[in-house]
């Protein structure tokens, strides 16, 4: 167990190093800067006192889309494509258990997503203070919870994409399947309702989608920032447990896939 933890740490460190050298973290910074630039540009327009709301709505989009983009970019950058496949062969030929390999890469992605969340927290808070006038206040508790939920969503998506990367060899196919999975997760409510209209096997398909695809839209609570609402900590805890369950499930399956995978 101690050896696995050490190997997991080594792989995570290696993953972060490769991400930095691949300039993937520039993508993280760029996502945050685009959000800040948009918010500052639109602030020049008069929205009838709705600037704070506008910034908050932008924040919702930036948190959700930026978080997903960063997670996909980092995970596919590590494990997708020929480069990922070859590096995988090189690493798995060493004294490295598949569980340490999978957990290490997941940890490396989570470090990248964590960096995105921290940057977004700072930028969102700064913009809310600047646009909110002299009495502006930052709802820190809500903001931190939005950050934690983005991190949780990133954890689920990263684990699911790792499973996909283990199942298919082609980097392009892994990328498309990952995007499809994320879209299905964001629109799970719609997808789950569709088969019920079908006469044959509709409810069964709906049940399968409900069970297999996590509802990613549940984690998009940034709207509370604009509406001035609070997010209950119990809700955050439940969503954290929901994310943990799905992430653990996907990771366990990914480990099994990498254990049985022939290279």
């Amino acid at each position: 167990m101690k050896t696995d933890l050490r190997a997991c740490g080594l792989i995570a460190l290696h993953g972060v190093r490769v991400s930095v050298r691949q300039r993937l973290f520039i993508g993280v910074g760029a996502a945050v800067l685009v959000f800040a630039w948009l918010a500052l540009e639109l602030r020049a327009f008069h929205f009838g006192g709705g600037e704070v709301r506008l910034v908050a709505d932008l924040a919702v989009a930036a948190w959700s889309i930026g978080g997903l983009a960063v997670t996909l970019m980092l995970t596919l950058g590590h494990l997708g494509g020929e480069c990922g496949h070859r590096a995988r062969t090189a690493l798995l030929s060493k004294a490295l258990a598949p569980r340490a390999f999978v957990a290490g890469h997941w940890l490396a992605v989570m470090i990248g997503v964590g960096l995105f969340v921290v940057l977004m927290l700072g930028v969102t808070a700064g913009l809310m203070l600047r646009t909110g006038g002299p009495d502006a206040r930052v709802p820190w508790a809500t903001l931190v919870q939005v950050g934690l939920l983005t991190l949780a969503k990133g954890g689920v998506v990263a684990a699911a994409v790792m499973l996909v990367c283990g199942l298919v060899r082609s980097g392009a196919l892994a990328g498309w399947l990952a995007v499809l999975l994320v879209v299905a997760g964001q629109l799970r409510g719609v997808f789950a309702a569709l088969p019920e209209r079908m006469q044959i096997a509709g409810p069964v398909v709906a049940r399968v989608i409900e069970f297999v695809v996590p509802d990613l839209a549940l984690f998009d609570r940034g709207g509370a920032l604009g509406a001035g609402q609070r997010i209950e900590w119990t809700d955050t805890a439940w969503l954290g447990a929901y994310a943990g369950l799905y992430a653990a499930g996907f990771l366990a399956l990914a480990i099994q896939v990498f254990r049985r995978r022939e290279i």
């Binding site: 490769v18 050298r21 691949q22 070859r86 090189a90 798995l92 030929s93 060493k94 490295l96 290279i263």
Partner: protein, 287 residues
């Protein structure tokens, strides 16, 4: 002392195409490589050399038969810590430096503490990369990348070193370095299994040979024994004092239906044995 490698009726099938047709890559191989041997694994392209090596590394699961490496199953992580592997083509992430990659290999192989730096430096020096070890692998030439592969394979002092085409496309200096590393491995009591088509490299260091053809083991054993049992005509080296004597000898032999061939190229013993065992030129034997 257990054999370094023991294969018993090792078989591997692959499923290919949409219909999942079965293709046998390795067909019931029995092979034992004693500890301390340097064994050449030779055969035409597609004869199952790389598949056998991947089975030895635990990267593939046998369809049938058994495979034991250093007394254990190769799927055990603890055994892989005692092995070093040089893959067929450069596979390292290009963004990291040679030192970082060899350091990662050393730590994954169980080295820790102050010993890591010394082991990494020694491995990089052994492959003559010490001076440029802090450059990213992406900036290296093909020969330098091959040397990085060698360094990461030997950094932890493995008991079994497996090399898959390590000298392919290398300049003579790098090939000589590869031979030196194998000789050093043998000198410290380690075992080497090398798959290659470069008979001069193999013959200069190998003492055992296993010849594969169409996934089957055609011949295996000590190189000296196989060469002695070979049916081909014996070859002699003649140390002549003058070229006129060689000319006279040539004329005498010509009259009796024999011929004199210079022995300045090494690797011809193994090459001849290879052709004789497989009964054809390398290209034809694989079909």
């Amino acid at each position: 002392m257990p054999a370094a490698v023991e294969l018993q009726q090792l078989t591997k099938d692959f499923r290919t195409g949409w219909l999942g047709r079965r293709r046998r890559a390795v067909d019931g191989i029995y092979l034992t490589i004693p500890t301390g041997a340097v064994c050449a694994l030779i055969g035409p392209n597609g004869s199952g050399k790389s598949t056998t090596i991947k089975l030895l590394l635990g990267l593939l699961t046998p369809t049938a038969g058994a495979c034991r490496v250093l007394g254990s199953s190769p799927t055990e992580v603890a055994v892989r810590r005692r092995m070093g592997y040089v893959p067929e083509s450069a596979v390292w992430p290009e963004q990291v430096t040679a030192r970082e990659w060899v350091d990662l290999a050393a730590r994954l192989s169980g080295l820790s503490g102050v010993g890591v730096k010394a082991a990494v430096d020694a491995a990089l020096d052994a492959v003559d990369l010490g001076a440029c070890a802090d450059r990213r692998i992406g900036t290296y030439s093909k020969g330098q990348r091959q040397r990085v592969e060698l360094a990461q394979a030997i950094v932890h002092g493995p008991e079994l070193l497996i090399l898959d085409e390590p000298a392919e496309g290398l300049d003579p200096e790098s090939a000589a370095l590869c031979v030196a590393i194998m000789a050093r491995q043998r000198a410290r009591g380690g075992t080497v299994l090398i798959a290659s088509h470069q008979f001069d490299v193999l013959e200069s260091v190998c003492d055992h040979v296993a010849i594969l053809g169409r996934g089957r083991l055609c011949a295996a054993g000590p190189l000296a024994t196989l060469a002695r049992n070979s049916e081909r005509a014996p070859t002699f080296a003649i140390e002549a004092a003058s070229s006129s004597l060689v000319d006279e000898l040539q004329a005498w032999l010509d009259a009796r239906g024999a011929r004199l061939r210079p022995l300045d190229a090494t690797g011809q013993h193994l090459g001849a044995l290879y052709r004789e065992t497989l009964g054809a030129e390398p290209g034809r034997a694989s079909r």
